[in-house]
């Protein structure tokens, strides 16, 4: 693999609920290289967003924590355990994040220009006027039409797609190495989705960004991902190059996800929804977390937890049944 910019090792994030700590993310390993898009796919509650928030150092401190032994390295710098103040120098500058809801993720009482300019001001130490000019340049870059005029407008005067462009401008204002995108297109119309995706793709190529793209939409994955990590109940169950994953899903859960996805070349009647729900983080048994919903589950799957094992062809799989395959 080429130059890795973000490397997550054995990340465990726990939340307190009813007096006890429960892991919402368990032992996640990830690596993102420059100019690469890694997609994390999974259902709601699988721990995708929590993983991204942990990288940003935004796990809510009053009821959440990153467990000891976890490591998040940005190039050669360890982020776990950094003080709030040191973390503020990293986030928004070297790692940036865009969120799902462009309607609520922008401050309604500040102009768009101020919101983009303030991160430049904070991280580049630019004077207000210079920061304002820089914000204009970035808004131009993300193709907000007549950016100069629109900078004094407020978020509610923008459409959903334009707001997401503003979010992207805010994130990229300081030219970070890594962009975390948490379902950035889910709330948008399909046509606008495509525009925003291709914008992210263009910017990735232009700046050599490492992109962590969180989504539950496999169609989006097919469009933009170089590699895919499938998450289930807080764990990664399979990683593979995107085309390999679509071509030959190995984990029963990945397989089930793919057959539950509508496709133009198949009849809607052939869709197979996955039975049951993602288990709550409070009642995951000793075995494989997917076992209760898995058609292939055997005795061992229920009693013993499989680990994520690398395969010879550069993929990784967490499954007792399929793990023995090449």
């Amino acid at each position: 693999m080429t130059e890795v910019v973000l490397e997550v090792r054995d990340l465990t994030v726990e939340f307190r609920s009813g007096g006890a700590w429960h892991a919402a993310v368990r032992g996640v390993d990830l690596a993102i290289a420059r100019n690469e898009t890694l997609a994390i796919v999974g259902e709601s509650g699988s721990g995708k967003s929590v993983t991204a928030l942990a990288v940003m150092g935004l796990v809510p401190p009053h009821n959440g924590r990153i467990a000891p032994g976890s490591s998040i390295r940005l190039e050669d710098r360890e982020l776990v355990g950094l003080s709030e103040r040191s973390m503020d120098k990293v986030r928004g500058d070297r790692v940036a994040m865009i969120f799902q809801e462009p309607m609520t993720a922008l401050n309604p009482t500040m102009t768009v220009g101020e919101q983009v300019a303030e991160s430049v001001r904070a991280h580049r130490g630019l004077a207000p006027a210079a920061a304002w000019k820089e914000a204009e340049r970035v808004l131009d870059l993300v193709k907000v039409p007549s950016a100069r005029r629109r900078m004094t407008d407020y978020p509610h005067q923008f459409s959903g797609g334009m707001r997401q462009r503003v979010m992207i401008a805010m994130a990229l204002a300081c030219q970070p190495e890594v962009l975390l995108a948490d379902e950035p297109t889910t709330a948008l119309d399909v046509t606008i989705q495509a525009q925003v995706l291709s914008l992210i793709e263009d910017l990735k190529r232009e700046y050599g960004l490492g992109v962590l793209f969180i989504t539950h939409n496999l169609g989006v994955v097919a469009l933009i991902a170089d590699r895919v990590a499938v998450m289930y109940a807080g764990e990664i169950v399979e990683t593979a190059r995107a085309e390999d994953l679509f071509h030959e899903p190995r984990h029963p859960y990945t397989e089930a996800l793919l057959s539950s996805m509508p496709r133009v070349d198949r009849d809607i009647g052939e869709l197979q929804p996955i039975q049951g729900n993602v288990p709550s983080i409070r009642d995951i048994g000793p075995g494989c977390a997917f076992a209760p919903r898995c058609a292939l589950a055997q005795e061992r799957c229920r009693s013993e937890r499989p680990s994520l094992a690398a395969t010879a062809d550069g993929r990784a799989l967490r499954c007792w049944v399929r793990g023995s395959l090449p």
């Binding site: 973390m87 986030r91 969120f99 993720a105 922008l106 009482t109 500040m110």
Partner: protein, 313 residues
Amino acid sequence: MGEFLLRRVALAVPTLLLAMTAVFVLARVVPGDPALVILGDQASLEALAALRERLGLDRPILQQYLDFLLGILRGDLGRSLVTGKSVWAEVLAVIPYTIELTLAAIVIGVVLGVPLGVYAAVHRNALPDTLTRLFSLAGLSFPAFVSAILLLLAFAIELRWFPVISAPKVDDPLDRLRHLALPAFNIGLIMTAYVTRVTRSSMLNVLGEDYVRTARAKGIGMRAVLWRHALRNALIPVATVVGLYLGTLIGNSVLTEIVFNRPGLGKLILGALNQRDYTLLQGLMVFFAGFIVLANAATDIAYGIIDPRVRYK
């Protein structure tokens, strides 16, 4: 913003008209003949008729209503029956005291209440938060006249830091401040209690918003997140409380002005009640109604300044 201002002020006109009509009707439906009430039941019929004529009560009701409205339009609120001075003159003589008391109370309430509320919200459920909540509950539970007496006992009688009776020398600003301090704190601390509570709960709401997380993700520092991003959005309910408080000001300032023996609108209204100064009362009601309508308009305009979405609707 200009158009928004115009629209909001225009909206105040019908409200004002309604309030004036209410004052007019109220004064007429109160049982008993005003002339009889003023002069007492020993008065001669001639005297009663003369007074009715002076008050315009002998004219048809619609005529009275029109005269009343036209009078207000000309800025004529009538004359006091007791002193013979115009209501405006009576109001103008004391209003600087009330304005200075109100402004001081609001400044104390906002300057103390907003930071306390923010602090409590950031440290929610920790000790400082509990203390702040306890303090604000105490502030809300104390009637203004009780706290006024306690303040007087402690700071004027025991410690002798401040005068017991407020009769400031008008042209000595320091002396005025000294006389203002206790009454202003009396109302200001109640105001602080309100503002603290509202700021705390509204900050708690805002801190859970997505845009606060976005702001944190920008790495601009917690201080900027709190004061630049969160507080402004949290201020709308605070503006509402301050605006509403202007309305309850009459009650609180009456009590405070009596306990501290301070001149002001409160004492003026009390005097009018005691002396059955019917025309002064009606004039004061018009004045207060107008004041409250304007205070509400000012509150709405404050919303517009805080939240751009209000402006463009």
